[in-house]
């Protein structure tokens, strides 16, 4: 092989690898990402049954019901709208009524949010940024509730 041909082989190999990386990324971006919604969004425009979404808001006071074998029912609210949710598993230690929460899962046919992941705060004074934004949007943001930005969170 001449120097030119060798270089061409290398460049085409690089091209193939790059093209497949770009292809995979584009495919995954259309399929593998999760949109963030608020309870108002879910009620106004329910996502389709097989679409994963992240639902952010506050855990409505008095809404947590614990059933047998780790089944928990609660409601996520942004002050304007409330979405009932169901989760099986162990909730984060800082999951509490009236506090910020982000749940990931799907909305089923009856409008129930079936969560497979629940994220709560990492420490006392922290609230997920998405929740803050959602609350600001619905006009229910009250920093004086003690849910201001965190002075210190976690480094692992």
């Amino acid at each position: 092989m001449t120097r030119k041909q060798r270089r061409l082989t290398l460049i085409s190999l690089a091209g193939v690898v790059l093209a497949s990386a770009v292809g995979l990324v584009l495919f995954a971006l259309s399929d593998g990402i999760t949109f963030f919604t608020s309870p108002s969004d879910v009620l106004a425009k329910p996502p389709s049954v097989d679409q994963r979404v992240r639902l952010g808001g506050l855990v409505e006071r008095g809404s947590i019901v614990k059933e047998a074998d780790g089944v928990v029912r609660f409601a996520v609210t942004d002050g304007k709208a409330t979405v009932p949710a169901r989760y099986v598993g162990i909730l984060p230690d800082l999951f509490r009524e009236g506090q910020g929460v982000v749940a990931e899962g799907k909305v089923d046919g009856s409008g129930l949010f079936v969560a497979d992941t629940v994220l709560a705060k990492h420490d006392e004074t922290y609230m997920p940024k998405e929740v803050v934004d959602a609350l600001k949007k619905s006009g229910e943001w009250r920093p004086e509730d003690g849910d201001g930005p965190a002075p210190q969170t976690v480094q692992r």
Binding site: L10, A21, F27, G32, T34, F35, G70, E124, Q155
Partner: protein, 659 residues
């Protein structure tokens, strides 16, 4: 007083860094040996002063000096000593100081241990290193000073976030920083070579041990962080594709590529420009990670919430260094001489493939990490990119790489014979196939993906062994002769084998714990039992526990298999008093390489408790594999040729071990 000494030492270190960044640089441009010689002194002195500063802060933590704001915010007088010390870097300011301490440590090490380095190159390398430390020392002094006093001093501190009160905090950040910041050395070497306009095989030989050292620490740091997350967060997961995890993983991928391309450059003088680019890229990704963690642009378990000025400050440092490095690269790369020729099927070709796939995989991770930020900044739409994205992109990029790994070391330099290499790997292929057939026979029709994964792991492990077996002519000559050959092989060959074997071990752990993971959630009362696989856990009862700053309840379980007691486990619910925070401590028991993992939910007043039990097949192999990879790296680091004083003249044919 001691705190002020620490503060003052930091200011002096900044002055030294400015001197060390300008005088030797000026000397290198003018060819003044005396000015260039200043570099070593300033580098060592910088380290001493930053060390004094770090010691002063540590002292303030140990004696719980609550007149220092940083100590008040992150410590408590009742905390165990280990957590007082590790609390020094459990916050933004202190960890930044640790970051700089490690940066100047590496500078001092280069100054002390590179006697054979040409004076000009050494002066330039240390000058670049000093620019970086000057930038970050300035940042600490202006925007995140850990030595600020409080008046009046409170009587007690706010304590450290309970999640961080763990031995993991003592180990994980220092290891990770040694890796992250260690990449600065190869960056400094790359910039020095570009300024100097000269680069040869000797350069690659000088850079390789530093890259290898950084890579070993980075591997350990990431593995340690993963294990910490696994046992502390109680979700039973070991990797979340959290943006900050990605921030440490991207430099690892780039450093892995750099390690391999530096071999080509050292042995064959090829891929010079590419190697320089990778060295710049690796440290740029480290800086990007620092920015992502500290700027507050991300919401993550890791993120330090900080004021935006800090983010902008780091962004400026990032732009200056990365932008400057790439401009210099664009201006100078064309002047670097061309390297040796090689056929596509050759050791060089295999290493190029390795580099292409690693950097492409790194790019997909970068896209997945930055895309949500870019989308939110541009359209305001919020998305999260999680495991599904990375499974779809990173996974497929890794598969061809892992299949190709055993071929690489078996191909000759310049022109390789892929058929011969394939023949030598027949045994490995047979072993992988045997596993597939065995799996089909034993388990009927399990997931095809899981079987493929296990076969891939076996292929990697047996393939790594095959290469050594071939080189020592195992079975073809007497065992004594094989032994003699084995002892005669360079350590770097053994290092390659061990590291590649470790990759296989990690793959096996990932596949095993993903495919044969079982979990169950039940509500138990004392005396009741839950069965998972062949094991039964009986809840015996509650045990009160208490530590310095917490009290809580432990739940005792007895694990039985076939009627025999095989283990007792005691997961805990803790309540930290300052700040008032509940945490859950999972209990983990290892059986062989597999683990039983028990985590607690709420304990009701009547004693019924939500219990989550996981069985994770072969999961310990994930971290064990990382340890094996690191051992391979260290073995390679001990290779004689990396320590030999004078590098070989570049033109002499490089000795290739007898094949």
């Amino acid at each position: 007083m001691i705190v002020e000494i620490g503060h003052y030492a930091l200011v002096l270190a900044l002055v030294l860094a400015l001197a060390g960044g300008t005088l030797p640089f000026w000397g290198a441009l003018r060819g003044d040996n005396r000015l260039m010689a200043v570099a070593s002194t300033t580098s060592v002195a910088q380290f001493l002063f930053v060390a004094v500063s770090f010691a002063a802060l540590t002292y303030a933590y140990v004696v719980s000096d609550f007149s220092v704001q940083n100590v008040v915010e992150n410590s408590h007088s009742l905390k165990p000593l280990l957590y007082k010390i590790s609390g020094v870097w459990g916050n933004h300011e202190g960890s930044m100081l640790l970051w700089v301490l490690i940066l100047v440590l590496f500078g001092a090490l280069v100054a002390v241990f590179s006697e054979n380095l040409p004076l000009k190159l050494k002066a330039l390398v240390l000058a670049v290193q000093s620019w970086i430390s000057a930038a970050f020392l300035f940042f600490i002094l202006i925007a995140s000073n850990p030595f600020l006093r409080l008046d009046p001093a409170p009587l007690q501190g706010h304590d450290l976030n309970p999640l961080l009160q763990d031995v993991g905090l003592a180990i994980h950040p220092p290891l990770l920083y040694l890796g992250y910041v260690g990449c600065s050395i190869s960056f400094a070497f790359a910039i020095a070579a570009l300024i100097d306009g000269r680069i040869d095989a000797a350069w690659a030989r000088w850079v390789r041990p530093w890259t290898l050292t950084a890579w070993c620490f980075l591997t350990l740091g990431i593995a340690m962080g993963s294990y910490w997350a696994y046992y502390e967060l109680g979700w039973g997961g070991w990797w979340f594709w959290d943006p900050v995890e990605n921030a440490s993983f991207m430099p690892w991928l780039a450093a892995t590529a750099l390690l391999h391309s530096a071999i080509v450059m050292e042995k064959r003088e090829a891929l010079k420009i590419w190697t320089i680019l990778l060295a710049i890229l690796t440290f740029s990704l480290s800086l990007l990670g620092t920015f992502l963690v500290r700027s507050g642009v991300l919401t993550s378990v890791h993120a330090f919430a900080t004021d935006p000025t800090r983010g902008i400050f780091i962004l400026c440092i990032l732009c200056v260094f990365i932008g400057g490095a790439f401009s210099l690269f664009a201006a100078r790369a064309g002047q670097l001489s061309q390297g040796g020729l090689f056929a596509p099927i050759s050791r060089e070709g295999a290493l190029v493939l390795n580099n292409l796939l690693l950097t492409a995989a790194c790019a997909t991770v970068l896209v997945g990490t930055l895309y949500p930020l870019a989308l939110e900044a541009l359209t305001g739409e919020k998305i999260s990119v999680g495991a599904p994205f990375f499974d779809m992109t990173f996974g497929p990029m890794m598969v061809p790489l892992l299949i190709a790994v055993p071929f690489g070391p078996l191909l000759a330099w310049k022109r390789g014979d892929i058929v011969a290499a394939g023949q030598r790997l027949l045994f490995a292929f047979g072993a992988a196939m045997a596993v597939v057939i065995l799996g089909l026979a034993l388990m009927g029709t399990p997931s095809a993906l899981a079987l493929f994964g296990v076969a891939l792991a076996v292929w990697l492990m047996v393939g790594a062994l095959s290469e050594i077996a071939f080189r020592i002519k195992l079975g073809r000559v007497s065992p004594a002769e094989s032994w003699r050959r084995g002892a005669g092989l360079p350590r770097s060959a053994w290092g390659t084998m061990v590291a590649h074997f470790g990759v296989g071990v990690t793959v096996l752990g990932i596949v095993g714990s993903t495919a044969w993971n079982s979990e169950t959630i039940v509500t138990l009362k004392p005396g009741e039992a839950v069965t998972i696989g062949s094991r039964t856990l009986t809840m015996d009862g509650f045990v009160p526990i208490s530590g310095g700053t917490y009290t809580g309840t432990g739940v005792r379980f007895t694990v039985r298999q076939g009627g025999n007691v095989v283990a007792t486990m005691e997961p805990e619910k803790r309540l930290y008093t300052v700040p008032n925070t509940p945490t859950t401590e999972a209990a983990i028991n290892t059986f062989g390489f597999s683990q039983l993992y028990v985590s607690l939910g709420d304990i009701s007043a009547d004693g019924s408790t939500v219990v989550r039990v996981y069985w994770k097949t072969l999961i310990a192999l994930i971290w064990l594999g990382a340890l094996v990879m690191t051992a391979g790296g260290m073995l390679s680091l001990s290779d004689r040729r990396l320590r030999v004083g004078a590098p070989k003249p570049a033109r002499r044919p490089v000795a290739v071990p007898a094949e």
